[in-house]
């Protein structure tokens, strides 16, 4: 059986899927309907697993599909679906072109099982302890998401802006300017670290990253040990010509011993294409399953325990600290947010922190840019996770975009009617800083922007009106805080709700006003 066509299938599928998923991160205009997101992103292994863990819905079975495929054919996921994997393939491909190599030149690598399982152990610890930072840092889809959002999207937006400046001069307004807020340097540092790591690994060692660092790769590798079909070398026909090993990105073909380490094989099918003897084939290996399992148990249990303990110590030493975010920095009364605000649909800050992997899909898609990567808002645990930043924007009353597209279920799907009464925080008025009090002039920017009139202007003195907050109809959207013109501190700010609550419906009482029959002037 000649399976050389499999590589073409892999290349075609992966490129198409990669482009689609990247488009979601690049779409800064809101062109792609939310419903498309989940049909594509649901196959991402770890986000889907997290969503299943919290929602148990049929839409979150993507990871089960991945496990089933892996159980049959090995780590197909790594070459077909994982965007970080495909990104590495693209980098390798470009490297090959630049170096003008006719073939890839990889060699058989030894298996860094110890390192691989260590990362997996730490990751599993992160999953069960709720220490989401570990998940955010290591989940391959989320790493790719941050690269797509932080590098690709920004490049596209900046190019767009350049183009817009040109078109603007000739009064063409079909494209428009988009202002992006720069992230905190620590977030950029993490991003840069991963970009450099990924580039170095893929330029010099193909998919070594996926077989040392990536916890999803390690986990799927464990499953592929028991795969029904495995790629194997036919010892009778193999001439040990080494061609296959030279094109193996995973470095898992040992031609000397005519063995393929299928646990590390990422199912790219390069080897099948080059083998002139047709010696590399998928073979039914169901019967070997039991023997291998016992072997694994013997080898790995102690290691895993060891690393689980190490991880425990590591995590315990990092305290979840909610650093105070200074809302304003020099006015008469400094005001601070003690509790950060998480997006509507995230139910509570704790559940949100535990199930978000900081893929930044919502940050890329948020139309008002109110969602920004957090620095210290949630403490270390939620580093890079999206937080409501009311200095950049405010949550649009009519919008539920983030809840529609979140692949991990950290922001649960929420109906627009529910969103409009979901209280994610409460506005706090700081009279000392208010223009009306300090300048004795009218202002009212906060009340103007309030969609529920939880902030309204009430008579004060000298015929002036001053803001007043009705907490039980406030939803914490941050429009007031965003609009407040006082410097350097704001006179109104939103304090987050640890647990989101339901606000009361705003006043919708009809007024009786009679229109006179004649002109009033």
């Amino acid at each position: 059986m000649n399976l050389a066509g499999l590589k073409k299938l892999r290349v075609g599928f992966s490129i198409l899927y990669f482009i689609l998923i990247t488009c979601f991160f690049l779409d800064f205009t809101g062109l792609i309907p939310s419903s498309y997101y989940k049909t594509i992103v649901f196959l991402q292994f770890f986000p889907s697993l997290l969503q299943f863990k919290s929602l148990l819905t049929i839409s979150s079975i993507g990871f089960i599909i991945v496990i089933i495929i892996t159980f049959f054919y090995g780590r197909v996921y790594c070459s077909f679906i994982c965007p970080l994997g495909v990104l590495q393939d693209i980098i390798s491909f470009i490297t090959k072109k630049i170096r003008r190599l006719k073939q890839y030149r990889y060699t058989y690598l030894k298996s860094y099982r110890f390192i691989r399982y260590s990362f997996l152990a730490v990751f599993v610890f992160g999953l069960f302890s709720g220490f989401a930072l570990i998940l955010s840092v290591l989940d391959p889809y989320s790493i790719y998401g941050r690269i797509a959002s932080g590098v690709f999207r920004k490049t596209i937006v900046e190019t767009n802006n350049l183009l817009v400046s040109g078109l603007q001069k000739i009064n063409v307004y079909s494209l428009y300017h988009v202002d992006l807020k720069p992230e905190h340097w620590t977030i950029l540092a993490v991003l840069l670290f991963f970009i450099v790591t990924i580039i170095l690994f893929s330029v010099f060692r193909g998919r070594l990253y996926c077989n040392t660092v990536c916890p999803v790769g390690a986990f799927l590798g464990l499953i592929s040990k028991f795969s029904v079909f495995k790629i194997e070398l036919d010892k009778n026909s193999c001439t040990s010509c080494n061609l296959c090993s030279r094109v193996c990105k995973a470095g898992c073909i040992d031609t000397k011993n005519q063995q393929i380490d299928f646990e590390r094989c990422i199912a790219c099918y390069n080897c099948m294409t080059v083998c002139s003897e047709n010696s590399i084939q998928y073979k039914l290996r169901w019967n070997k399953k039991l023997a291998i399992r016992t072997e694994i148990n013997k080898n790995d249990n102690s290691r895993r325990q060891f690393f689980a303990i190490t991880a425990l110590i590591f995590a315990a030493s990092i305290r979840k600290s909610r650093a105070q975010q200074v809302v304003t920095d020099t006015a008469t009364k400094p005001t601070g947010r003690d509790i950060p605000v998480s997006p509507p649909g995230s139910v509570s800050i704790d559940t949100f922190n535990a199930s978000c992997t900081a893929c930044h899909l919502c940050i890329s898609a948020c139309p008002t840019h109110v969602l920004q990567p957090s620095y210290t808002d949630y403490g270390l645990i939620g580093f890079m996770q999206p937080v409501m930043d009311y200095h950049t924007g405010f949550c649009n009353f009519e919008c539920t975009k983030c809840s529609e597209i979140c692949p991990t279920g950290a922001i649960k799907s929420i109906k627009i009617e529910t969103k409009k009464i979901t209280q994610i925080g409460i506005a706090h008025f700081v009279r000392q800083n208010c223009i009306v009090r300090t300048e004795k002039t009218d202002c009212g920017a906060c009340a103007e922007h309030c969609p529920t009139k939880a902030v309204r202007m009430v008579p004060w003195k000298q015929g002036l009106v001053i803001p007043e907050v009705t907490p039980d109809i406030c939803i914490g959207c941050g429009a007031c805080e965003f609009a407040c013109p006082t410097t350097p501190y704001k006179a109104i700010y939103v304090e987050g709700n640890d647990e989101h609550k339901m606000a009361n419906e705003p006043d919708k009482e009809k007024q009786e006003i009679k229109v006179e029959d004649d002109f009033p002037f």
Binding site: Q168, N171, D442, G444, A447, E448, C450, Q511, V515, F519
Partner: protein, 307 residues
């Protein structure tokens, strides 16, 4: 055009531009360049019709939009598109009215018509859900963004007391004709928002206005560039919870339209319709005192039309 004429005109245009530039900001070239047509009335008030029909009537008695828009000119229309709400909530200018104005402009031979606002809510949602983007595009106008500082140019406001300069949208500076189309609404702090308050949507930094005596800044900016025409939409009027509104219960259907070249007069008349005296609205009084326009309606020649 003959070559000689061309050279003469280019040279004089160059001298004019150069001189203007050397005397002040880029925007000063255009500041106060108002077409001042001879009009039979200072103000036209129409009632009891649909918005587009009332506009037709008002323009008819003024002598048509040709009085304001000449063949080949570019027009910028500034409606209120501040909020992401549907047209029925009357937080934004009626899309039907905007569409009709654009149609009139093109009939008069306008080369290009632009529509924009510096919105409060997310601008794309505002443009879309107000119905104005579609109405404007259907009528052939170009809808321009106003959400980024890059679209604004700094200009001086020589007549301003508190507001000495402002960053103004480039379309206001570059267009030949400026039509201001606010919707009459209640307002939490300024009490009412009509023509003068609507101009907060052509500048970038509104927070400065709020910090530096909102009413004074509104009056100050009214001295900068008088719109060539103000058309006040008072068909559906938000009588409480303005300027954003909470529900349709905030809206009363009054079926009025006011047209005037004088912002102070238009605001005074609209205030009366709303049930307030003009002097109760601080910025109307201030603008009147600064000579921007006339708030004493008895001194004006008004055409009143019932449809």
């Amino acid at each position: 055009m003959k070559r000689r004429d061309f050279i003469r005109k280019s040279v004089s245009a160059g001298i004019f531009t150069g001189t203007a530039l050397s005397f002040g900001g880029y925007g000063k070239i255009f500041a106060n360049t108002v077409n001042d047509p001879e009009l039979p009335y200072d103000l036209v008030a129409v009632r009891d019709g649909e918005p587009d029909l009332m506009l037709d009537k008002a323009l008819e008695v003024l002598g048509g939009i040709q009085k304001f828009v000449k063949k080949g000119q570019t027009v910028v229309i500034k409606p209120n598109i501040g909020w992401d709400v549907e047209p029925e909530k009357a937080a934004n200018t009626n899309p039907l009215l905007i569409k009709r104005i654009i149609t009139h402009c093109f009939t008069a031979g306008a080369k290009e018509v632009y529509v924009f606002d510096n919105t409060c809510d997310n601008w794309t949602a505002c443009y879309k859900n107000s119905g104005i983007e579609k109405a404007a595009k259907d009528a052939g106008a170009k809808v321009a963004p106003g959400h980024s500082e890059s679209y604004y140019q700094k200009v001086n406001v020589p007549g301003g007391k508190n507001l000495k300069d402002a960053k103004v949208h480039e379309l206001i500076l570059s267009s030949d004709v400026f039509i201001n189309v606010p919707v009459l609404k209640s307002h939490g702090s300024a009490k009412l928002t009509i023509t003068m308050k609507n101009l907060m949507g052509v500048v970038w930094d509104r927070r400065f206005w709020h910090r530096n005596n909102l009413n004074q800044c509104i009056a100050d900016f009214a001295t900068y560039r008088k719109p060539d025409l103000n058309i006040v939409d008072a068909y559906n009027v938000m009588t409480k919870n303005g300027p954003r509104g909470v529900s349709k219960a905030d809206v009363v259907t009054m079926k009025y339209l006011i047209v005037s070249t004088d912002m102070v007069a238009a605001d005074a008349a609209a205030a009366k319709i709303f049930g307030m005296e003009p002097d109760q609205v601080n910025y109307i009084q201030l603008a009147n005192d600064m000579g921007v326009g006339q708030m004493d309606l008895s001194k004006l020649n008004i055409s009143r039309i019932k449809v």
